[in-house]
């Protein structure tokens, strides 16, 4: 059979190329270890729920690597699910005008919805799907992480598909590339760099949620999955300070490892897909990637992907598109009418359901309460972003203007952004309890603990991008002090700052759900706000109020984005973008 023999050829070619050498051995051990870990981690997943209760999480440091592995595997499972979702949904949105009209705004909104609020629903749903089996809970956790990762990836992929250079599009159409070939040759490579970047951002965000989603209480059911999150929850309940230290250390090790072994190589590899006509001077470097490449293991690592691509190509046996088919055709009016009708019907049904549900369970008073609390949380977010900006903008500019420092500190800022800040919450709680501080004020900084780094590393990037000639000109004319900040530094970093602050503010809203209500042993601290409202409703299994809380928070986040950040962003793009 032709397809099989075609599929085999690259294999043999690679075997011939990979003659063993010393670097091979190192890489082989690394990979074999990784494979073992995957197998071990996966074994525990399909056991019955009863085992879960018997084999409870313990605070034995010897178990910590295993827990870290389980947590990491959940992360990657969710990442692959997000990737599959992205490839299918974003492609559909870009290809079909009608689907795009619904999918694109949906993604935009989902990006702003507080994911932690979902946990209640998803855990119940997945446990119902696999009653009495760990798999259901595992899937719920994976799904929670998925919801924190998928949307921005899909959005970025969609945007890339829509901005494919018109000349390459014309070449593809001129040669009559079939849809599959066009996707593999043009769309996918073009979108890869942005997609990889967004996957990294998604991973960073995901750690926060994996910690929060492993040990959750919904009504009377408490579920703990083996993982760092459960370890942390147990350590908090037992007031075990040392165990928390262990968790922080394990988290740091895991993040460094996945960054060095997975993402840096991927970024270095994806650099070849960057759409530019001149070779850039600074290419992303990665020792792991260089190792894989030197050992000629790279093609082997990419086998699953190249094989999938090749399979798609061999399956794609349709005739080349004819010339007549290449010209655009307008959509039919009848189809459009039917589509609009279907959308309207679905909308009406959804509205009816929501109104019915809300009127049965909630009073207008609930809405007033939720909006009032949202106002409090908003106040916190605004004050904190302002404070963080006052601190990090000058520091970021200082660092960014010194390339040596920027080179060293930029990865650290990115590491801090990826580090799940909720792991550090207990320390703050101990301090607040010890000095008897007001939780309403002193719990607030926790919201921005993990997200402030986005401001820092974006400002660093912005300051490094200020052209040398502008700085030299400013120096020559003796521009100093406030004038220098007003006319050189601040306008220069502003577009970057807006990007960072937007991410930070969205993340802070989300973090409020875990930051406004925290505990240490029996001590419970609570700050009045929408976050603690949602957290309390979740713990009580009060679904209508959880839904209300999420809805109100989504409205606030979206309004924040539309009314504040987007106009600022547009202004920055129009007036302050350098070159």
């Amino acid at each position: 059979m032709i397809p099989i023999s075609r599929g085999m050829r690259p294999f043999s070619r690679m075997l011939r190329l990979t003659a063993p050498n010393r670097a091979d051995a190192i890489a082989f051990v690394l990979l074999a270890g990784l494979a073992m870990l995957v197998v071990r981690g996966a074994e525990g997943m399909a056991e019955p729920l009863s085992r879960l209760r018997v084999e409870a999480v313990t605070l034995d440091p010897a178990m910590l690597p295993y827990y870290a592995l389980r947590t990491t595997l959940r992360m990657f499972a969710a990442l692959f699910a997000s990737l599959a979702f992205t490839l299918v949904v974003a492609t559909l949105a870009a290809r079909s005008k009608r689907a795009g009209q619904i999918i694109v705004p949906a993604l935009d909104i989902l990006q702003s919805v507080p994911i932690l609020g979902f946990l209640t629903f998803t855990v119940t749903f997945f446990m119902g799907l696999f009653p009495g089996r760990i798999l259901g809970v595992e899937l719920a956790a994976v799904f929670a992480i998925f919801t924190s990762q998928a949307w921005n990836m899909a959005f970025s992929f969609y945007q890339s598909l829509r901005s494919v250079p018109s000349d390459l599009d014309e070449v593809s159409r001129g040669f009559g590339l079939s849809p599959v070939r066009r996707f593999l040759r043009l769309d996918l490579p073009f979108a890869t760099p942005a997609l990889v970047w967004n996957m990294m951002m998604s991973m960073s965000g995901g750690w926060f949620f994996v910690v929060a989603s492993e040990a959750i209480t919904v009504g009377n059911t408490t579920v703990t999955l083996p993982g760092i999150g459960s370890w942390l929850a147990l350590a908090i309940a037992r007031e075990d300070f040392v165990a928390i230290g262990w968790a922080v250390g394990a988290m740091a090790v895991v993040i460094v490892l996945y960054d060095q072994l997975v993402f840096r190589p991927v970024v270095a590899w994806a650099d070849r897909f960057r759409f530019e006509q001149t070779a850039s001077t600074e290419r992303p470097r990665s020792w792991a990637f260089d190792l894989f490449r030197r050992t000629r293991l790279l093609p082997l690592l990419l086998v699953p992907f190249t094989a999938a691509g090749r399979l798609l190509l061999t399956l794609d046996r349709g005739r080349p598109a004819g010339l007549a088919a290449k010209a655009d055709r307008g959509p039919g009016t009848l189809g459009n009418a039917l589509w609009s009708l279907a959308v309207a019907a679905a909308l009406a049904w959804a509205a009816w359901t929501i109104v019915g549900y809300v009127s049965r369970h909630l009073t207008p008073g609930d809405a007033v309460t939720a909006f009032g609390l949202a106002g409090l949380t908003m106040l916190r977010v605004i004050v904190l972003i302002a404070l963080a900006s006052l601190v990090w903008v000058p520091i970021g500019v200082w660092i960014g203007l010194r390339p040596k420092w920027a080179e060293r500190l930029q990865p650290i800022a990115q590491f801090l952004a990826a580090f799940p800040a909720n792991v550090l919450f207990p320390f703050a709680v101990i301090a607040i309890v010890h000095w008897k501080l007001s939780p309403g004020i002193w719990l607030s900084p926790l919201m921005i603990l993990g997200t402030q780094w986005y401001i820092l590393f974006n400002v660093i990037a912005g300051a490094s991008a200020i052209p040398t000639d502008l700085r030299e000109a400013a120096g020559m004319f003796g521009v100093k002090g406030w004038q220098w900040w007003r006319q050189v530094a601040l306008p220069g970093v502003f577009p970057y700052y807006v990007t960072g602050a937007l991410t930070a503010s969205g993340g802070s809203w989300n973090a409020s759900i875990v930051a406004e209500a925290v505990s240490w042993g029996n001590a419970r601290l609570e700050a009045a706000g929408l976050g603690s409202y949602i957290a309390k409703a979740t713990a009580a299994g009060d679904y209508p109020r959880v839904a209300l809380g999420i809805a109100v928070m989504s409205i606030f986040v979206i309004a924040f984005n539309r009314l504040l950040w987007r106009p600022l962003y547009a202004f920055a793009e129009r007036r302050l973008r350098l070159a």
Binding site: D167, G174, F175, G176, F273
Partner: protein
């Protein structure tokens, strides 16, 4: 390679019309174009931007379907329909594919077996002079080498008709010349499987150098204004007097007013405030005046000489010259541009005197500038939102043209100090920042 009667016809276009945009501001880009392409000829489509020549090329390539008209490929004796393939101005190479993979792309789309694909691609690479670069990525290549890849990719699929969209205009002068010569050599020696070449250009010398037949397009809307057969034998010599005469002749045809245009309305489409204006900097206007005023031209120059001297392409030179004509600073006579007495004064003036003279000309001859100034004078506040004028323009032209026209008038008005414009407020005013 003059056409002879016995050659076969490859392609017939009749009555092709095409619009861009919808509803208000719809723009007719191609109007009733007829074209016949025969075997063994290089045909040039020569025109300025907005003359629809690229649209026509894309219609033939099947990349867009014109609103009206017929594009008919004539099958050969074996019933084989002539195939087409295209070379792009921007090269349009896939940066993540190597030279070889880029060249193989079209064959891959046709499901040509791997072995044959490789052989044919290597042969094309060899023919175009790219051997040694098979495994290079496009970003490692110079512009000239990249365009060679574009050419190899186009001819490897054995097209009967090669379409070229300003293939040399993104290259520097020397590289473009080398590529042109190489292409002509391959063509004349019959080493490419191509039956005919259709090349879009706005470089008059390039058209005369390469083509057997040149179709001169008028702009807005694009029509075939003239068809010129070039009988000069290949290889052609730019310094040959017959060559120069032909170049001058084409310049003259391109500056000729359509008989329907009123005298001195210039060559811009539309009348009154609805005139579509090109964005031309006042520095370029002043520069051209000074160039023609000084030695060796002394007030009158042939457009071909000017283009040579200033290294400007038709697309750059003509809008400047025509703007000068619109403001009565110059007159286009035949293939020449002659300065008016006002322009010769302008050349001798100081900055402030120049501005005054420019303001006079602007208010007298550019209706839109007049219009904005009058509105500002009439209003007690002396302020008017730019949106108002943009909407007014969009009643007559596409939003893109409206925006370009308003940008041009804003720039001229600011220089002449007849009104001010504030970007943040998006409004015109009479206040003087000083």
């Amino acid at each position: 390679m003059a056409t002879h009667a016995a050659t076969r016809t490859l392609l017939e276009l009749s009555g092709v019309r095409h619009h861009y945009g919808k509803g208000q501001g719809q723009m007719l880009v191609l109007d009733n174009v007829d074209l016949t392409l025969r075997e063994n000829e290089i045909v040039g489509l020569l025109g300025r931007s907005g003359s629809g020549k690229s649209t026509l090329l894309r219609s033939i390539a099947g990349l867009l379907r014109p609103d009206e008209g017929d594009i008919r490929f004539i099958a050969d004796a074996a019933g084989q329909r002539p195939s087409v393939s295209m070379v792009f101005q921007t090269f349009a190479l896939f940066p993540w594919l190597t030279v070889l993979q880029n060249v193989e792309l079209g064959l891959e789309a046709q499901r040509v077996p791997v072995e044959e694909r490789r052989t044919r691609a290597l042969a094309a690479i060899d023919l175009i002079g790219l051997d040694g670069f098979e495994n290079a990525y496009p970003k490692e290549l110079s512009g000239g080498m990249r365009q060679r890849v574009g050419l190899a990719r186009a001819i490897v699929v054995d097209p009967a008709l090669l379409l070229m969209d300003e293939p040399f205009s993104a290259l520097d002068v020397l590289t473009a010349e080398t590529l042109r010569t190489d292409l002509l050599d391959l063509w004349c020696e019959g080493r490419m499987p191509i039956k005919s070449i259709l090349i879009v250009t706005h470089n008059i010398e390039e058209a005369v150098l390469m083509c057997d037949r040149i179709l001169v397009f008028s702009s807005n809307p694009g029509r075939v204004a003239a068809e010129i057969t070039v009988e000069l034998p290949q290889p052609r010599d730019r310094l040959d007097p017959a060559f120069r005469a032909l170049v001058d002749d084409i310049y003259a045809r391109m500056t000729a007013r359509a008989p329907s245009n009123p005298v001195n309305e210039g060559l811009f489409p539309g009348t009154g405030i609805a005139m579509v204006l090109p964005v031309v900097s006042t520095n370029a206007l002043a520069g051209l005046i000074e160039e023609v005023d000084g030695a060796p031209f002394d007030g009158r120059a042939s457009m071909a000489d000017l283009a040579d001297q200033l290294q400007l392409e038709v697309d750059e030179l003509f809008p400047i010259a025509e703007t000068l004509q619109l403001m009565r600073f110059a007159e286009l006579k035949g293939a020449d541009i002659a300065l008016t007495p006002a322009a010769r004064q302008f050349a001798q003036h100081t900055v402030d005197e120049r501005k005054a003279l420019f303001a006079q000309a602007l208010l007298a001859h550019v209706p839109l500038a007049q219009h904005i100034r009058r509105i500002l004078d009439e209003r007690p506040s002396h302020v008017a939102p730019a949106r108002r004028f943009r909407d007014e323009l969009e009643d007559h032209m596409s939003p893109d043209y409206a925006s370009a026209t308003l940008t041009a008038v804003t720039h001229w008005g600011r220089y002449a100090e007849i009104f001010a414009y504030h970007e943040d407020a998006d409004q015109f005013s009479l206040d003087d920042p000083a």
